[in-house]
């Protein structure tokens, strides 16, 4: 049986500062080596100062993943030489003999499509800096180091090897990413905020780790490739070596990085500069209270309380941006209409991260739009146009309606004139309408087209029926 396990690294991007110093946790958009200080550079004489908020946010993740959490957490040093590691050791966590379980969480689970994925361990650690190579990693002549990222709070989530195929892996990562975003601890959409490594083994073979995978999409492909590679080795009765392989993004294959014979030597020992941190039951209770409603119960609530269609509720609940918008716009009476407007009209308008950031839409706009539609002040088509303008400008709905002339054409004589023109042009349809009343809809559409969707639909229908002699 194929076994796949994951190691997911998730930056706590919603924090103000790094794990052990006051530098910014979100290092993006800084010039290289400007988001640094003596602590994250490991200058002699500096000492790490623990960001307690990071411990709380990480604990929140552990609780959301059904993990056990300890009374006290401890930090350890993991020693290895690498140019991106300023102290040449990483401050991380470990559940070690003699110390007990001292990492943020362990023994959790997530159920996906009736399959239980066990969470082995969750730990809090510092992200290393970033290396930039000139050309291919293996052949680079110049390696540049940027320490802006060094010390960023990172939560490592390690699963048991409970996945059987790449599809399950992808599914899990999508759900985990939504869950973490929903907790408000990280923005998984940010470049590099969520990374995953996989380990893959087939029946009777050794475990192979795959690292260096840029996206979840690539991870799925890498796992797929690795299974195929291992199966083909097995068929030819070639031994599958325990090793670490890198995903080559260009060639779409995994390549051997190092064999496990040179087993990493980390010389773990306690980080004495950071005293053990008590996480009292009181703190845990507080976190439980702050814990946002989880995605599945949110979805259930949308369906049962507001009668929102399950697919719509699903889309809404799993995306924090849209569900926040929905919750804030919702005035209880128009919930279903607001939900539909978000999923049918708004999603297309803000389908990228940049567009979301630039959007000037406020929750109130959505409620106003639905109300105007209900009060027949604006047609659905016009509402869609208005939404587009609002996202761009953020102006109040009445102003948008006036500025872009989106109000109903409900003046009877004006409408009669327009309808008269339509009927003149659509002689064929008028003829057919005598046998087929469905044609009426086509004609209404034509009137809408002429009025850019502004015609009062009920009045239009009434006038059409009268003109065509249909009762």
């Amino acid at each position: 049986m194929t076994k796949i396990g994951l190691e997911i690294h998730c930056q706590l991007t919603k924090l103000e500062s790094k794990l052990f110093c006051p530098c910014k946790a979100d290092y993006r958009e800084f010039e290289p080596n400007t988001n640094v200080c003596p602590i994250c550079l490991g200058i002699p004489g500096s000492l790490p100062l623990l960001n307690k908020k990071a411990v709380e946010k990480a604990t929140l993740i552990a609780m959301a993943l059904d993990c056990k959490t300890p009374e006290k957490i401890a930090f350890f040093r993991k020693s290895y030489f690498y140019p991106d590691l300023p102290k040449n050791f990483q401050i991380t966590q470990l559940n070690a003999d003699g110390y007990g379980n001292r990492s943020i969480g362990w023994g959790g689970k997530v159920t996906i499509d009736n399959k239980e994925i066990r969470i082995r361990r969750i730990q809090l650690e510092e992200d290393p800096g970033r290396l930039i190579y000139e050309g291919a990693t293996e052949r680079t002549k110049i390696t540049l180091v940027d320490y802006n990222r060094a010390g960023t709070p990172l939560v490592e989530i390690v699963t048991e090897p409970d996945f059987e195929n790449p599809h399950q892996v992808r599914n899990f990562l999508n759900i985990l990413s939504d869950l973490i975003e929903n907790l408000g601890v990280s923005d998984p959409g940010l470049d590099g905020a969520m990374r995953a490594d996989a380990n893959v083994s087939i029946e009777g073979g050794s475990k192979v780790e795959i690292k260096n995978i840029g996206s979840f999409h690539d991870l799925e492909k890498a796992v797929h490739f690795e299974i195929t590679r291992q199966q083909s080795l097995a068929e030819r009765e070639i031994e599958i070596m325990q090793e670490t392989r890198h995903w080559d993004d260009k060639r779409k294959i995994t390549v051997s990085a190092r064999t496990k014979e040179e087993e990493e030597e980390y010389r773990y020992h306690l980080e004495a500069d950071i005293p053990w941190v008590n996480i009292s039951n009181n703190v845990k209770n507080q976190l439980q209270i702050q814990m946002p409603e989880n995605i599945s119960s949110k979805k259930e609530r949308y369906v049962s309380k507001y009668n929102i269609a399950p697919q719509v509720a699903d889309i809404l609940a799993s995306d924090k941006y849209f569900s926040d918008l929905f919750e804030n716009a919702n005035n209880e009476t128009d919930a279903k209409d607001i939900a539909n407007m978000i999923t049918t009209d708004l999603m297309g308008l803000v389908d990228t991260r940049e567009k979301r950031e630039q959007s000037k839409l406020e929750p109130k706009h959505l409620a106003d739009l639905i109300e105007c539609i209900k009060l027949n002040k604006i047609t659905r088509t016009s509402a869609k146009l208005a939404l587009e303008k609002i996202v761009k400008t953020g102006k109040a709905l009445p102003q948008i309606i006036e500025e872009f002339d989106l109000g109903h054409v409900s003046d009877k004589s004006t409408l009669e004139g327009i309808i008269g023109e339509v009927l003149k042009q659509e002689t064929k349809a008028v003829e057919e309408s005598k046998q087929n009343p469905e044609i009426l809809n086509y004609l209404v559409g034509k009137v809408m087209q002429k009025t850019q969707g502004k015609a009062d639909p009920e009045l239009t229908l009434a006038i059409l029926k009268k003109n065509l002699g249909i009762d």
Partner: protein, 482 residues
């Protein structure tokens, strides 16, 4: 003017107008110029000392608020950072390292208007007990220049003992304050782990080391501890001592106190006759002034030196791993090196003892060997700690000679690393258990000093200093011959 006065007498002298800060500082500088070419206590002097002295004098004259140190000259071991000036750790690897910050303990002295007169010599990265491992040459013992001053804070102890300054800050990882204090006949205090901030102290074995005062009197030790101790937001391991005043009731005496004599330390193989005799005298003295002395066994003690070197090597291995010459360091062309060979090349500047401990530190905690070495050492540490906790339920203090032997000649011991390490036999227990310990000058035998060590339970510095003060009162010692 008497340069041998204590900090408290300096305070009185300034307040009485007996001398000015400028006078005292310039006399001290003259003395340093005169004696330090032989002693080599200092690695660097503060060029601005006289200017600062004049500034403090102006403050005093114009009745402004003046800090408690009134411009007294204090030296600082060169493993504590001072913003803008070099901190070398007596290593070629940090020969030109200029820290962007000042160590909290030093900063607190500075804000009490102490004048940091200079940075003192040490064994490279504080690894050693004689200053023979300083990359810039050893310091000499002012009692006899042929003898080592002890270490690693050797320069600090020499500077105080030879009256080059009033007091000094040292650091103590396994005896590095108490050992040279004992060898140079001055008072050296290693406080409870966490009582003094380590921010700005360049780490060697960060789980057990502490900054502490080296002074002429026990009172001065309390005086300096008042200034440097307490919570620091730059060091998560510091303890809030609620501004405790260690000088208050320092003369309370030790009437009725229970003192344990650690039998493993008074019967050890390495103990010299001179030191043993002095210890027996000290025990009698303690009884005479009202304490009850009783032998007590700390069974883990024979294993402590091995445990100490295992733990400190492990931590040194990680604390010194950052000296890879990538982010700072010295001019050196990286062309043609791959990363690992670059690092080994970059580390060529580290001296032999540092190299030895880093190699040891790479080995003892490694995957295949941790169970045999590092984890066992941790077990010794935790057993020793619970043993000593139990003993402190019954006893107020534990005493022993600070060092089993008297100062030795240069080159005499250094060839045999293991017997060299055993000189730490009596001092490492306080570090491994985090307890406070003080070395008090007790005797001069054959022209060389012997110090007594008193240990107390965590955060009992108050009573520890009272006991040390009581012992000090019974002792009369000759003046330093230099």
């Amino acid at each position: 003017m008497d340069l041998s006065i204590s900090a408290l007498n300096y305070q009185r002298g300034i307040k009485n107008g007996d001398f000015t800060v400028e006078e005292f500082i310039s006399k001290s500088l003259e003395r340093i110029k005169l004696v330090d070419k032989n002693l080599h206590a200092f690695l660097k002097l503060n060029d601005l000392a006289l200017e600062k002295a004049k500034e403090v004098d102006r403050k005093i004259k114009s009745n402004q608020n003046v800090g408690k140190c009134f411009g007294m000259p204090i030296s600082v071991k060169d493993n504590m950072c001072i913003a803008g000036s070099r901190t070398t750790c007596a290593s070629k690897a940090l020969e030109n390292f200029i820290a962007p910050y000042t160590a909290t303990a030093v900063g607190r002295l500075d804000s009490e208007d102490a004048i940091i007169i200079g940075k003192t010599n040490l064994d490279e990265f504080a690894m050693g007990l004689s200053t023979e491992y300083s990359a810039f040459g050893p310091s000499k013992n002012p009692w006899n220049l042929d003898y080592v001053p002890g270490g690693s804070s050797g320069g600090s102890a020499v500077s105080v003992s030879a009256n080059e300054c009033i007091a000094s800050l040292g650091s103590d990882t396994g005896g590095s304050i108490r050992n040279p204090a004992s060898f140079c006949s001055v008072v050296g205090l290693k406080p409870t782990y966490g009582l003094v901030s380590r921010f700005g102290l360049i780490s060697y074995a960060n789980s057990i080391e502490q900054i502490g005062p080296i002074t002429k009197t026990v009172e001065d030790s309390a005086f300096l501890l008042n200034i440097i101790s307490g919570k620091d937001s730059s060091d998560n391991t510091t303890i809030d001592n609620k501004n405790q005043d260690y000088l208050k009731d320092i003369d309370a005496g030790i009437e009725g106190k229970k003192i344990g004599i650690i039998s493993e330390m008074t019967n050890s193989e390495g103990l010299s006759d001179e030191v043993l005799n002095s210890t027996n005298e000290a025990i009698k003295t303690f009884e005479r002034i009202g304490a009850n002395c009783e032998e007590v066994s700390l069974q883990m003690v024979p294993y402590t030196v091995a445990a100490y070197y295992t733990i400190t090597s492990t931590e040194a291995g990680s604390n010194l791993a950052r000296y890879d010459n990538i982010r700072y360091g010295y001019e050196f062309d990286s062309e043609g090196f791959e990363f690992n060979s670059y690092i080994s090349q970059a580390r060529n500047k580290l001296g032999p003892e540092v190299a030895r401990r880093m190699i040891l530190g790479g080995f003892v905690p490694s995957a295949g060997h941790a169970g045999k070495y590092f984890l066992k050492a941790l077990k010794v540490k935790s057993k020793l700690t619970s043993e000593i906790e139990r003993i402190f339920e019954k006893f107020d203090f534990l005493i022993s000679p600070t060092v089993p032997i008297q100062p030795f000649k240069f080159g005499e011991k250094i060839q045999d690393p293991v017997s060299f390490m055993l000189i730490d036999f009596n001092t490492v227990t306080a570090n491994l258990t985090g307890k406070p310990a003080i070395s008090v000058p007790y005797k001069i035998v054959n022209g060389l000093p012997i110090g007594m060590q008193i240990m107390a339970n965590s955060l009992n510095e108050n009573s520890l200093l009272q006991a040390a003060y009581a012992l000090e009162k019974t002792v009369e010692l000759p003046e330093v011959p230099i």
